[in-house]
């Protein structure tokens, strides 16, 4: 018997099934307020790797419509993480409606700030901070993992899934957003310590509202504050690497990406703290035409 939860995140809908009740209950709580889904775009499943491992040292295999071969199982108590990883994988491998960039995004006045970079660059935390704290200043959180670029219009489509906080970012966000709706703290997962945070209510209520990309940032954590221009050619190459479906989209992907780097100014920023980064963002944003 499988426990089930269906949820719609931005344009994508999921049916999550699990042999264990707990991960589904946790998802249900964290995704409270999101629309349900009658026909799912994707299925994600958590099932014991063998019948015994349902009860003894419970171990969950992550499965779904689209899978990588040899995906490692997780302890069942990290099932919530498994479901989230499964959802990301479905998007990365199966979604073709928009171009997917590994990037976070926030919106203000109908215009989107998109941030991309290696894992550890701080793009996810920055989007969460801007969306949670600076909410009063008009930033709306659009997503911390995938920025979806519509190939027809060039617009950014929100994908406000749960914010996935890692290691030091957990304490930082707990301090910054004491009233936030946090999931369970999962220690020593394959990705380090993980804790999920539900996006702010306006991010969920407005998850169908698209925005025009206005600035692309490559943030980089750990050096003295600095701003550098990035030429469109370099941005293009880095974005082909940051996209999960650029190649699969063929000509449509090429058109979408070339237009993106032609229309959107690109900067790289260095920073040592969240406050510093947000200052740089405000400075760049106010200088936009």
């Amino acid at each position: 018997m499988l426990h089930e939860f269906r949820v719609t995140v931005g344009p994508a809908s999921f049916r999550l099934s699990s042999s264990w009740a707990k991960p589904i209950a946790q998802m249900r709580a964290l995704y409270a307020g999101y629309p349900a889904a009658d026909i799912p775009d994707f299925n994600v499943r958590l099932e014991p790797v063998s019948p015994l491992r349902r009860f003894i040292r419970p171990s969950a295999a992550i499965d779904g419509d689209y899978m990588l071969p040899d995906a490692a199982p997780l302890p069942a108590r990290q099932g919530l993480l498994g479901l989230e990883m499964g959802m990301n994988l479905q998007m990365a491998l199966g979604w073709r409606r928009q171009m997917i960039l590994h990037a976070s995004a926030v919106e203000r006045d109908g215009r989107a700030l998109i941030m991309t970079g290696e894992s550890g660059s701080g793009k996810s935390t920055l989007s969460a901070m801007l969306g949670q704290i600076a909410g009063a200043q008009g930033w709306r959180f659009m997503g911390d993992e995938f920025a979806l670029i519509d190939p027809e219009s060039g617009d950014a489509v929100p994908y406000p899934r749960l914010i996935s906080l890692k290691n030091e970012a957990i304490a930082a966000m707990q301090a910054a957003s004491p009233g936030g709706h946090f999931g369970p703290l999962m220690r020593a997962t394959p990705k380090g310590d993980i804790r999920h945070l539900a996006p702010p209510p306006d991010a969920i209520a407005r998850m169908d509202e698209r925005a025009r990309p206005a600035l692309l940032l490559f943030p980089s954590f750990g050096r003295d504050a600095a701003i550098r221009d990035v030429p469109p050619s370099e941005a293009f190459m880095r974005l082909t690497q940051a996209s999960t479906n650029y190649v699969a989209l063929g000509e449509a992907g090429f058109r979408a990406l070339t237009r993106f780097v032609r229309e959107v100014p690109v900067r790289a920023i260095d920073y040592r703290s969240g406050d510093e980064a947000m200052e740089l963002v405000e400075q760049l944003w106010s200088a936009l035409p």
Binding site: S13, A248, G250, A252
Partner: protein, 339 residues
């Protein structure tokens, strides 16, 4: 389709009769899509259902599937061209097999088809040459180096161990015949290479009868019927397209199948394809029904169901591949190595 059994038969019905999807409710659609993905037939289904009314989200899912099938077609042909270029100094024939051949020849079986590895065939005597060219000039490398597996493939199998491209991460299977050497039937691989034809883009593919026979052999006389619904759809398309082009095709197919010692496999494929995807005029046997039970063994989430039937076909696949004593020795070696 309220109340209809949610298993692989839903996918079969939708492929055979696209208009039947008008009866699906939301859960029926969800089930059909999950099963089609599991059977790697979502792109095929998307093309079959083009123009049928469907809920908005289903249309978007099917659009995605068509985009993805186009991508797979493009990359399959690209891989074929890369292999052909690597083998440019080889004077024998490199014949494309399975999905890549279908798209290279623009056959109905290739429409929307998912294509993973590149499958090619060369003469057995030339394996060494082809292998060297692919490794040195082409940029492929062995997936894993294992002395037992390597020797096993070379002594008993119909193909080399798989190679993967260093940069493109795509696999190539180099065959010299269409069934393991240890299997019962011994197809005439040399005749297949001799009769191969050239497509408009200069690539070799099997002649129509050989292509259908390879498809039937792969489906019925080899393997445990994983992905069987897709292989059977291939056979259905190959058979009906060739029959429509040439009324003598059915008879030629059987004569040729006799030559390759594959008459019963081809006949079974004909009956199953007709029963599942065609006009259902064929009379099927009790064993055919077991095959159908295995082919449609999927649940509402697209998971494999009917464990006992699956196990039976799994055992059968090993018995088809090799005699029991050899099988025991093989499984013993594999078990000791823990793989």
């Amino acid at each position: 389709m309220n109340g209809a059994a949610k298993n692989g038969m839903m996918l079969v019905t939708a492929l055979r009769d696209p208009a039947s999807v008008a009866r699906l409710d939301a859960d029926g659609w969800a089930c059909l899509i999950a099963i089609a993905r599991a059977e790697l037939l979502i792109g095929t289904l998307a093309h079959r259902l083009a123009g049928q009314p469907a809920p908005e989200r289903v249309c978007a899912i099917l659009d995605d599937a068509r985009i993805n099938a186009q991508y797979q077609r493009r990359s399959a042909l690209w891989e074929a061209k890369c292999a052909k270029r690597a083998l440019s100094t080889y004077d024998g024939r490199m014949v494309l097999m399975k999905g890549t051949a279908y798209v290279a020849a623009d056959l109905r079986a290739g429409i929307g088809r998912s294509i993973g590895d590149l499958d090619i065939m060369v003469a057995e005597d030339d394996l060494k040459d082809a292998e060297q060219l692919l490794l040195t000039i082409g940029g492929w490398e062995w997936v894993k180096e294992d002395a037992y597996d390597d020797a096993y493939y070379r002594t008993h199998m119909h193909e080399l161990p798989p190679m993967i491209h260093k940069e493109r991460d795509r696999m190539i299977d180099v065959h010299h015949t269409i069934l393991p050497k240890t299997a019962g039937p011994t197809p005439d691989a040399a005749a297949m290479l001799d009769s191969a034809i050239v497509t408009d883009n200069g690539l070799h593919i099997f002649a129509p009868a050989d292509m259908a026979i390879h498809c039937a052999a792969h489906l019925i006389a080899d393997g445990e019927l994983d992905g069987g619904l897709r292989n059977l759809w291939d056979f259905h398309c190959l058979y009906s397209e060739s029959s429509a082009a040439d009324t003598r095709f059915a008879a030629q197919l059987l004569t040729r199948a006799d030559h390759h010692q594959l008459r019963s496999a081809v006949q079974r494929a004909c009956r199953l394809a007709n029963y599942l995807y065609g006009d259902r005029s064929a009379r099927i046997t009790i064993t055919d029904r077991l095959f159908i039970r295995r082919l449609t063994a999927r649940d509402y989430l697209g998971r494999g169901s009917r464990k006992f039937t699956r196990l039976a076909f799994y055992i059968r696949s090993h018995l088809l591949r090799m005699p029991p004593v050899m099988l025991a020795r093989h499984l013993w070696t594999k078990w000791r190595k823990g793989s």
